[in-house]
Homo-oligomer: 549 residues x 2
């Protein structure tokens, strides 16, 4: 594992956002073995509190000071050093298969509110993964699998055209503040290794990469000059640094490339196009495919999880679910079996652009062909016609595909197809994807999902404005939107809002209706039909108290 | 019909946005009887053009001048005056049942790109409605039904707390500019009638209202003081003005009210809470229900369409699909039959807040109980936890429910639950709902939906940036997002973008792959396996041309 000390001569001085999210504070749930699982605790005005899953790491602790040059505490270091390999492997999959419950699994069970045996068995079955490179001990364990809360990933990373290391570290902290469960560093410009080092040492969530990007930089951008050796060395370098999962486009086979020629948008995956170019240039099967077993050996050594990339994913509605896409998916299924045989964890990446009627089919085939490896999809975008709003076009697809079983959703920001996301775009993308993930959790009947909706709706109905804000995904925005119309502090306790005004509040009327009905035992059809007549007069006049404007 | 001349003493001077949307201009498709159907025509740089459904009215004509005090031209006036009642009725339903094809139906057939007999038969069947008050001749005919393009509605209207007539007229023009198929004027404050008059005389789309709001103003805000006579006079007044469809909460029956007492959010519909309060106060069945046949007679006289309101819609995930909601829906089915027997057009309003797994059930029951009357839903919001982003939470639900058959979607803006939407919020809500509606059109396989996606994706792949912007739902935003990173005009024709930079463009690599494959006939698996070997060398070196940074 590299140390940031080697980088301390640089001028990198990231500024990061710290402190609790408005209306909440960091708390911890204690478990065995010194496990302390962080939660965002919302204290409600009615004396109750509501704990929210918290991805933000130590940055949201009250009054905490951070030296990003020192990196985060190495939370998992003692767990890692204390355990022996099983069958030569140190992966969570190997331990799970051996019946061993790791501290990571215990941490996750508390975090998800489920039995630890569910965690172990789902990992053993390959239906869930715990991306945890031994060399990224700073990360807080999390799980990706259809039986658990739907997760979201935020892409960050600089390009040749724009952005700096400072910006990317800040984006990582910012993305996890709002709920990103993992981040992927997709840097393609200069300083790829250094950017990644800064991100890893400061990231409380697993970090993913696409190693082929860095490998391509090493050959000056010419795909034909890539080789297994260059790629392998890059992967080892990134494993050493602590990358937790890697996108590998090993399913782009030579014979699939011409299947893309008639597409409207050909190959839109960067990794996919690089490997397609290599295959055509050499007329050989991709080195990712032919050396896949060696790759498994490397990843196993560190417990890096495969994210088998969909290099031939559709980039437009017209290309969805076509022969090229599905041929690659079948190959990913073969590779899944190979990796699992070596105790390496696997997830499968998915599209892209898919109309809503073809989304379920994607999940069905992925589960059938890839033996239910966790599906990790980019959106998908449900239409092509809204550049500038592709966080929304894709949230529609993402919620739908997650409802059908996708375990992790890669966010899309408003800048998709148009430019690199800035800080605001990152937040918008994360919040939008938290919505999609949560909508799916509700639809799947996750036992803990609806309690937050209920708490917030209760607060809304009771005009506990501050509680409503604090329980929301983005308290700052909810509050500021409210204040645009009714800025006065008194309005935060007012029993009306700006939509209807004080004279016209349906919730107030409803409360009167409810009070009356309950006071008179009129909570059933029978009761109201039997007993209302004599009480009607009494009710008239108090159902509503007009307020002088 | 009132004339704006009576209002010309006022100081109302709305400022409105006029002129074409960037990259397009107004064109017309000619039909019989002097019918001219407007389209937004996008001229592409490859010499082709793409026509887009256009709701914006004359405001987007090039160089047109408008006097909002004069109102729009009375497009439909000659059609209306030329025809006789059928069976005493002047409704599109009556004509359709009699086998008469109206000019409105011909206009719609061209607008939707379908056979006019489909329009007539769907209206006759009651599965589609054409909201067209005889006293709103300024409107351009449109249809709402599951066999046609999914429509969207934008709510506007002032409240006691904020906003003015000027703002609301501007919002109407603004909302239709971006694609609102209808607008509802939900004003509750002062000047309700005058605001509505300004909107109607200047609206190119059907206008809906909720008459109970104005009736309540007349009794100083006390629901108990409402009466059939006050309500009836309000409805007649609004019919005379030209309102095209009216929300009537006639399904809130006395015995349903206590079913809401145990809900988390009780009754959240304003109209629903008003009628519930009235029912309890008088211990009588609602006058909307008991006088429903008289109401039908009034609406039939003007061809005003019922929008039977869901006064007991769920206001939270917890309350979705509950007994109160479904009891009311059954009653709306009875009322649908009553209205249709009198040749009055009917659509049915739907929820609200519904988790994704309970959405399809809403459509199924509505179609079964209400004989497939067009369903018109508010969202639904797929989660409660994101105030400030409820355009997104609801777009997820809206796309899903429209995929299942909802004919029109009522938009939700980012200010939902928090405040009244401003101009930016209206645009965001409209664009978001155009996305949801279009995603559903694609999923339903509407014959004309995908051509726009294909045209845009083709432009994207070929780096025709200006075409991509012009074909998008919001060209201004797409262009400005692009320009944030690469502002130079040259970048609009560059064969790369800011995400990857010039050295790393997957689309450029793909184009090379495609060119090569097509040049060598390598467009099948067999061909590539058979013939690639000897050509591999030739390809090496031209797959990618590194650009010096």
């Amino acid at each position: 594992m590299t140390s940031l000390s080697s980088l301390q001569d640089t001028t990198v001085r990231p500024t990061i956002t710290t402190g609790p999210i408005h209306g909440s504070h960091k708390a911890h749930l204690d478990g065995p073995d010194g496990i302390r699982v962080p939660v965002r605790r919302v204290e409600l005005s009615n004396g109750e509190h509501h704990d929210v899953y918290d991805t933000s790491g130590p940055y949201t602790e009250t009054g905490a000071q951070f030296d990003v040059r020192a990196g985060l505490p190495r939370l998992r270091a003692p767990w890692i050093s204390a355990r022996e390999p099983v069958g030569g492997a140190v992966t969570q999959l190997a331990y799970a298969r051996a019946g061993i419950v790791t501290p990571e699994m215990r941490f996750i069970a508390i975090r998800e509110g489920v039995d630890v045996e569910l965690v172990r068995s789902e990992v053993a079955r390959g239906r869930a993964v715990i991306p945890t490179n031994r060399n990224h001990p700073e990360s807080e364990p999390m799980i990706i699998g259809k039986r658990f809360l739907v997760k979201i990933n935020a892409n960050i990373g600089n390009s040749a055209v724009t952005s700096s290391i400072e910006e990317e570290v800040d984006k990582m902290v910012w993305a996890t503040r709002w709920g990103a469960d993992t981040v992927m560093d997709l840097s393609t410009g200069k300083n790829i290794a250094e950017t990644r080092e800064w991100i890893l040492r400061n990231s409380p969530v697993p970090v993913g990469t696409v190693p082929i990007y860095q490998a391509l930089e090493k050959v000056n951008g010419d795909p034909a000059k890539l080789s297994w050796e260059i790629y392998r060395d890059t992967v080892v370098e990134q494993c050493e640094q602590g990358v937790d999962y890697m996108t590998v486009h090993a399913g782009v086979l030579l014979r699939y490339v011409p299947l893309t020629a008639k597409r409207i948008t050909g190959i839109v995956s960067r990794g996919g196009s690089i490997m397609a170019a290599w295959c055509l240039a050499h007329h050989r099967e991709s080195f990712l495919y032919t050396h896949f077993e060696e790759l498994c050996e490397i990843l196993r050594t560190y417990d890096v999880t495969f994210s088998l990339g969909d290099g031939l994913r559709p980039g437009s509605i017209a290309d969805a679910n076509d022969e090229a896409q599905l041929a690659e998916l079948r190959t990913l299924g073969e590779l899944t079996a190979t990796a699992r045989a070596k105790d390496v964890q696997v997830m499968i990446e998915g599209p892209g652009h898919v109309p809503m009627d073809k989304i379920a089919e994607n999940v069905r085939l992925e589960e059938e062909w890839c033996d239910e490896a966790p599906f990790y999809t980019l959106g998908p975008l449900a239409t092509d016609i809204a550049p500038g709003y592709d966080h929304i076009t894709s949230a529609i697809g993402a919620a739908t595909i997650a409802q059908h079983g996708t375990a992790m959703l890669c966010y899309v920001t408003p800048k998709e197809h148009l430019g690199l996301p800035d800080r605001d775009d990152v937040k918008t993308g994360v919040i939008t994807y938290k919505i999609a993930a949560h909508a799916a959790d509700l639809a799947k009947g996750h036992p803990h999902a609806q309690s937050r909706d209920d708490a917030l709706s209760q607060a809304r109905f009771e005009f506990r404005w501050a509680d409503q804000f604090a329980l929301s995904l983005d308290p700052d925005t909810a509050r500021s939107f409210h204040d645009e119309t009714l800025p006065a502090e008194a309005a935060k306790t007012a029993h009306f809002c700006s939509m209807c005004g004080p004279k016209f509040c349906s919730m107030k009327i409803t409360q009167d209706v409810r009070d009356y009905a309950e006071a008179h035992g009129l909570t059933s059809v029978e009761a109201i039909e039997a007993g209302m007549a004599e009480k009607a007069r009494e009710f008239t006049g108090r159902v509503y108290l007009p307020v002088t404007e």
